[in-house]
Symmetry: C2
């Protein structure tokens, strides 16, 4: 069966302000020294498994041009432009309906566009296992990440019995507190929920019909109009009417035949500026430095230069990011507060900086 | 007798990089929220004592236009342009020779251009006392600052017997270590050497003749050429031939009749970025913030914004200065290392940034 990939690329990535903006969110940025953007990496690493013409990018209409620029090998008609943000369930239903117009049935890999994978061979092997599990019945497969520490910022997948390469999923759980996260880790029965899914188009459509019939019907109408002159009108009408809902809550927590494959391939969700020193090489003083920077006695600093010189003297555990119109200087303990700056900017109508 | 003032404004002020540059050193910057530059403050605060036409600015030839711009009330012919830097003794000799062409004799107040005075009335009163002491014989008077803590970054003046409003100077001492500075303070016999001097032109010329005859002769020749077409040629020839020497070492440590007047008028030499929070009002979190800045949870930060937004999140005890082509992020413990950045820039031929 044909293997297709649906890359979800509608996110805003506010946590990488000031480099990320409404007009260029995280997936369209390079956060690694190789200059490749997150979405370019996401597509490139799928090449052993999925042909370019079978890669679909679901993104906000505002980013269509960015996708074309950054992914010239993906056919323009595979860029599915959401007229508004409605979370993952409508996004996936939209893509499934379009793919089912092209192929009788197909496997869908549903993948975030802004995560990093350290070991791409193992990643591909894991996806192949997931594909093979997804081919049976109406199995819905999610890739779980083997946790390496009690992270409190992710949801977890609690798995049960072994079933070949996969495990049956008992339940999905929300972000835990530290105590609970430690228990999860000790139990050996929990994985991080990475938001990667594998299923047949027919399987997810059947489950949408059952659990989210409005979205199912709307997606069918969008799919029917795909390639006709009614497409844009239909898409806007149907998509804006969708309830905003995640596929985790809307389908995965309710459906039967949910399986997980534990993955251990150097996954990183690149969730904040703290990730940059993790995913890049650092110098002897544990600094990550890019651009025109003079550092004197600085340690454990992440410094991303722009067009001007940055002189960092005697600073420690700090993040400095320079752009044309804004500079961020942030303690490593405070990266979550970047959103407070964005809130202030919005409140003051300074949308050019958001 | 006429009271004149000689403002020494040739310094480079590297410690305020990146705001200070070779092309605009500290004395031509405003470091206070009122927007007045250091040299403008220096001249303005003299107005109760010295007429504008009796104020002489000795500066580097490169800064003549800056002086004209910032001090439009000072006559252009009073801007004495040094062709090169030769420390304070040649600077003072040059000014004394020029003033002696204008007036038979006059009192000279010799003052740095880049210090702050908190209590200007007391300052003027102190200068008046110094003037009156300077009128007697060939007295050389220096203003000493009553120390408030054992500073190791200044030279000290050790004084002896009281003589009216003044004290006889026993000796000048170099920057002490902390232990010695504490002893100085405890003794009650030491003042900070502020580099402010008061004397008659005839007194300093007599002492130059005695202790620095080459500079005396050269200065006379410059003075004779002043206002003639030979002036520039004479100035360049004589001034470049001067030995570089401070008036402290060249005259004050050797001459007789040296007196000091203790001053206590809120003097601040504004020696580094650390001074900015001292000389300006700070907010409830002890931050000094100017320009377009959003601060979230920052404490004891000095932030000088430029044309772009600075977002400072959770940073403490830090100095952030933004300019068009360079940003400084510096720990308060490391302000002395700004010069290391300048050294690197020079080494790499990046003179546009110096």
């Amino acid at each position: 069966m044909k293997i297709t990939a649906v890359i979800m690329a509608g996110g805003r990535g506010e946590r990488f302000w000031p480099k990320s903006r409404n007009s260029r969110p995280k997936q369209f940025l390079s956060l690694t020294s190789d200059g490749e953007t997150m979405i370019q990496k996401t597509v490139r690493r799928l090449s052993p498994l999925v042909d370019s013409e079978d890669i679909f990018i679901v993104t906000n209409a505002a980013y269509t041009e960015l996708v074309k620029e950054q992914l010239p090998d993906v056919p323009a008609e595979n860029i599915l432009a959401e007229p508004c943000a409605r979370n993952t369930a409508p996004c996936i239903a939209f893509a499934a309906a379009v793919i089912s117009r092209k192929y009788d049935d197909a496997v869908m890999l549903v993948l975030p566009s802004d995560h990093l994978i350290g070991y791409e061979n193992i990643y591909i092997k894991t996806l192949k296992k997931a594909v093979s599990v997804s081919l049976e019945g109406e199995n819905l497969v999610t890739i779980g990440i083997t946790p390496t520490y009690p992270e409190t910022g992710y949801g977890y997948i609690n798995f049960g019995s072994e079933a070949g390469d996969a495990y049956e999923v008992e339940r999905f759980v929300e972000k835990p507190d530290l105590q609970t996260a430690k228990k999860y880790l000790a139990s050996g029965k929990y994985l991080w929920n990475s938001g990667m899914f594998v299923w047949k188009v027919s399987s997810i459509m059947a489950n949408l019909k059952k659990f989210m019939p409005d979205i199912y019907e709307g997606a069918l109408r969008i799919g029917e109009s795909f390639g006709t002159e009614d497409y844009t009108e239909t898409l806007v009408r149907e998509f804006t009417a969708f309830t905003s809902e995640s596929v985790d809550f809307g389908i995965m927590e309710k459906a039967d035949n949910i399986f997980t494959i534990p993955g251990s391939f150097g996954w990183d969700d690149v969730g904040s500026w703290l990730a940059v020193e993790r995913i890049n090489e650092v110098d002897d003083d544990k600094n990550y430095i890019e651009g025109d920077v003079i550092s004197v006695g600085s340690e454990r600093a992440t410094i991303c230069g722009g067009k001007r010189l940055i002189a960092a003297i005697g600073v420690e555990d700090i993040i400095i990011v320079d752009t044309d119109d804004a500079v961020l200087v942030c303690s490593k303990n405070s990266t979550q507060d970047v959103k407070k700056v964005l809130a202030q900017l919005k409140e003051n109508g300074r949308n050019d900086l958001v």
